[in-house]
């Protein structure tokens, strides 16, 4: 009973204030745009790029090395040197040391071979080199791919709903997801790899799912009240997002110590899905409610 009452209280409050609620996403979007504008003018880019997008060499050495010492000894020889380690998830045994530098592959190999005193072969190491010309075009194309994907997604959404405002609400919500995640990732100072950009692409898919569910339930169904339909949609949608969120968070926990690539994809998705809960159920839902009530004339529905 108590629960029922608080539910009703919330509904009344929401009915009264949902338009005002829209101010929150609006402010966040404006601040985010402002931040990104600023970020772009400072860094001349939308993200901090990692080696896969700027070009450079990554060497994975399958030995247990003191990474601090290595960094000290080699940082003047290898430009922009960064090191990390990977561990076995269960035994916590150190599996490899990863060295990243913007120096070319052959130079890096020679310097490391001199330092370690043995030859680097495929038995003891992996060497990955990306030239800067390729990574530059790579980056441009991934951005292009995201823009294309977004536009194509928007077209499909318009085709599905054939009404302007609700379709736009879905698109705004997806855009806000990407924008807010981007800002958050930049605030964390995360260096994005090509896989990270793919994660943003995945985010488009995940975020649109719940928006489509919500919009279909609201626009194409006529039974019961608008609020009831919205609440039912919320129940389904939040289950969807939470399952994805938990599944990804669990997986992230496992791969965290082992794979940079997958960790980054999962981290971005976790952040994105959290923003998606906000944008679907505040941004999109409020615009949609506004649209429907305006069309029907306020009060008709309840």
């Amino acid at each position: 009973m108590e629960q029922e009452k608080s539910k009703n209280n919330f509904r009344e409050w929401y009915d009264k204030n949902y338009k005002k609620l829209l101010i929150i996403p609006l402010i966040i979007i404006i601040l985010s745009l402002f931040y990104m504008f600023n970020f772009y003018s400072q860094n001349n880019d939308f993200i901090y790029k990692d080696l896969s997008l700027t070009g450079g060499t990554t060497v994975t050495l399958q030995i247990d090395l003191d990474k601090q010492k290595l960094e000290q000894d080699l940082s003047d020889k290898l430009t922009d040197l960064e090191t990390s380690e990977i561990y076995d998830i269960i035994t916590r045994e150190k599996k490899a040391t990863i060295i990243k530098t913007t120096a070319p592959a052959q130079d890096t190999k020679n310097i490391l071979e001199n330092y370690l005193g043995y030859k680097l072969t495929e038995e003891n190491s992996s060497v990955e080199f990306t030239g800067s010309s390729l990574s530059e075009s790579f980056y441009k194309q991934l951005i292009l791919a995201i823009i294309f994907a977004f536009i194509l997604m928007a077209i499909v959404v318009f085709i599905i709903f054939r009404t302007f405002t609700p379709s736009l609400a879905v698109i705004i919500s997806a855009f806000a997801d990407i924008l807010m995640t981007l800002v958050f990732v930049n605030l964390l100072g995360m260096k994005i790899s090509s896989a990270g950009i793919v994660a943003f692409l995945m985010l488009i898919g995940y975020s649109v799912d719940t928006d489509i569910l919500l919009t279909t339930r609201i626009l194409k169904r006529k039974e019961s009240t608008l609020d009831k339909r919205m609440f039912e949609a919320f129940k389904t949608g939040i289950t969807m997002t939470l399952t994805s969120l938990f599944a990804i968070a669990f997986a992230l926990f496992v791969v965290r110590s082992f794979s940079d690539v997958l960790s980054q994809i999962f981290t971005i998705l976790v952040i994105g899905l959290c923003f998606d809960i906000f944008n679907t159920w505040v941004t999109n839902a409020s615009i949609l409610k506004w649209h429907v009530e305006k069309k029907q004339g306020v009060g008709n529905e309840n």
């Binding site: 991934l142 994907a149 499909v156 959404v157 488009i204 039974e223 289950t239 969807m240 399952t243």
Partner: protein, 510 residues
């Protein structure tokens, strides 16, 4: 309780069985004993006797072989031996008898337990992306380049290579080279050196590499090719070896040679030779200068001896180095020069060692994700049957993706695995929609309710589909794996697993 399956559920079951068959093979390979041959040296007795890549060795000299360890142990105990000894190799249906004092030049691996192929980033190998240094190549130019390079790598003796042309969103064309397993140290040289070989006398080019001028090259025949001498330099302590091999010129090149030598005088300090030398240039660098015997003056001769050298700190290394130099030069003389100066824009050599740990970690991550999903689903629906149906459908979907991937021989790399994860996520989302819709609006029939669920799912499907399309080409296809597995996944979802799940839910609801 007797459950009657609908045709949609039957389709799921049949597709599932086919996928399992395609993953594990028929009969399943994990019952098979022995080791799989991945390559046989073409100039070995083993090759002569008929042993080939792809065969399975089950026993050697009557001793059963169940793992790679057995295989190496037996051969290590027998070889090298002082005299030629007999080795009997049993494959699944034939036995081969070899006589040699050296171990058969066979590289083998354990028989893979499944037909799932993993990409280079998991199984190890090398990958290079190459473009012309200062020229945009057209797609036909790249395909010429691909032909020459594959030829060159084959002549060099690499097997298991894949050379293709790839293009990207902005119309750049690249050559992509992928080599599974062991990669040669000088891969970089092999693919990026233009390999322009000229033999000149003074300013005149006598002949160049490639089949226009060079009819054949002597290789692997000690009478006309091999390492000559190895000496230690007394001041630098380095070892220095020389090689020589014979090449045979075409008629036309031989006549040219005669015409040019005909004009030459006799060398004053060394009267047995002609006044000018035959200079060998590789990519415009002088490799060697050979004296020309005075008997050759103006004579049409097709047989020319080529020399070169290599050096290193130790005797063994110098010898290896020289052998490699010889092999490279032979390869270049056979295949000719590449039409463009090339630039390697990406070169990855991945050790196979971390791959196993990696796959284990990914499986663990998948398991963790499934557990997370199960917890939420049971918590939300509190119904065992539908929750179980949801998990079952989700697992079938993974099996079907893997089945199709093994069937089309798609190499699963990291982006592909990320794609599988993405699919599972959206798949579960859609099943939740189906479950919830089935419980809504009780005044509609279950059929109508599920039809509505499908409308939402199709909407989600098409948005995901179009979002993936640009990724097929972006970045020279290096992320194609993500797009491919996701496409397979969401399409199987909409066509097979979701309809079956709908019917299962219908059954449970009824």
């Amino acid at each position: 309780m007797k459950i009657k399956f609908t045709w949609k559920i039957w389709i799921l079951i049949i597709v599932l069985l086919f996928s399992l068959l395609s993953i594990f093979g028929f009969p399943p390979t994990f019952f098979q004993q022995g080791v799989l041959i991945t390559s046989v040296d073409q100039n070995s007795t083993a090759f002569e006797q008929g042993l080939r890549q792809g065969q399975i060795i089950t026993a050697i000299d009557g001793k059963e072989i169940s793992s790679l360890e057995d295989f190496t142990n037996i051969l290590q105990n027998k070889f090298p031996s002082q005299e030629k000894i007999k080795t009997t190799v049993f494959t699944e249906d034939v036995e081969y008898i070899l006589f040699s004092n050296e171990a058969p030049e066979i590289i083998a691996t354990n028989i893979p337990k499944t037909n799932i192929k993993t990409g280079l980033d998991l199984s190890g190998g090398a990958r290079a992306l190459v473009k012309a240094e200062d020229k945009q190549l057209s797609s036909s130019e790249v395909s010429d380049l691909v032909d020459i390079t594959s030829n060159r790598l084959n002549e060099f003796g690499l097997s298991d290579i894949n050379v293709v042309s790839v293009s990207d969103l902005t119309g750049n064309n690249y050559m992509l080279i992928e080599i599974a397993g062991a990669t040669p140290d000088d891969l970089e040289d092999l693919i990026s050196k233009q390999g322009k070989f000229d033999a000149r006398i003074g300013e005149d080019i006598v002949f160049s590499g490639g089949d226009k001028d060079v009819a054949s090259v002597c290789r692997n025949d000690a009478t006309c090719a091999g390492i000559e001498t190895c000496k230690q330099d007394e001041t630098t302590q380095e070892y220095f070896c020389t090689f020589r091999f014979v090449i045979y010129l075409t008629e036309k090149a031989a006549e040219q040679h005669a015409e040019i030598t005909g004009k030459l005088g006799i060398n004053e300090t060394h009267p047995e030779y002609l006044e000018k030398k035959l200079d060998l240039y590789l990519d415009d660098n002088l490799v060697d200068s050979l004296f020309i015997s005075k008997d050759l003056k103006g004579r049409v001769t097709t047989q020319i001896q080529i020399q070169g050298s290599g050096s290193d700190q130790t005797y063994e290394e110098a010898l290896d180095n020289t052998k490699n130099e010889m092999k490279k030069l032979q390869t270049i003389l056979i295949t000719g020069s590449l039409p463009y100066k090339l630039e390697i824009v990406k070169l990855d050599t991945i050790s196979p060692l971390l791959g196993k740990d990696f796959i284990r970690t990914i499986l663990l991550a998948g398991l963790a994700a499934l557990i997370a999903v199960a917890i939420i689903i049971f918590f939300r629906y509190k119904k065992f049957k539908s929750s179980f149906a949801l998990l079952f459908t989700c697992i079938s979907e993974i099996i079907i993706i893997l089945g199709i991937a093994s069937f089309i021989e798609w190499n699963l790399d990291l982006p592909s695995i990320a794609g599988i994860l993405a699919t599972i996520g959206t798949g579960i989302d859609q099943q939740i929609i189906i479950l919830d819709e089935s419980k809504q609006s009780r005044d509609l029939s279950i059929k109508q309710r599920l039809k509505r669920a499908f409308a939402i799912i199709l909407g989600a499907y098409f948005t995901a589909l179009v979002a993936l399309i640009p990724l097929m080409w972006a970045g020279a296809g290096l992320l194609k794996g993500f797009a491919i597995t996701t496409l397979i996944g969401i399409t199987t979802g909409v066509l097979i697993t979701r309809p079956a799940f709908t019917d299962i839910v219908k059954k449970i609801e009824e």
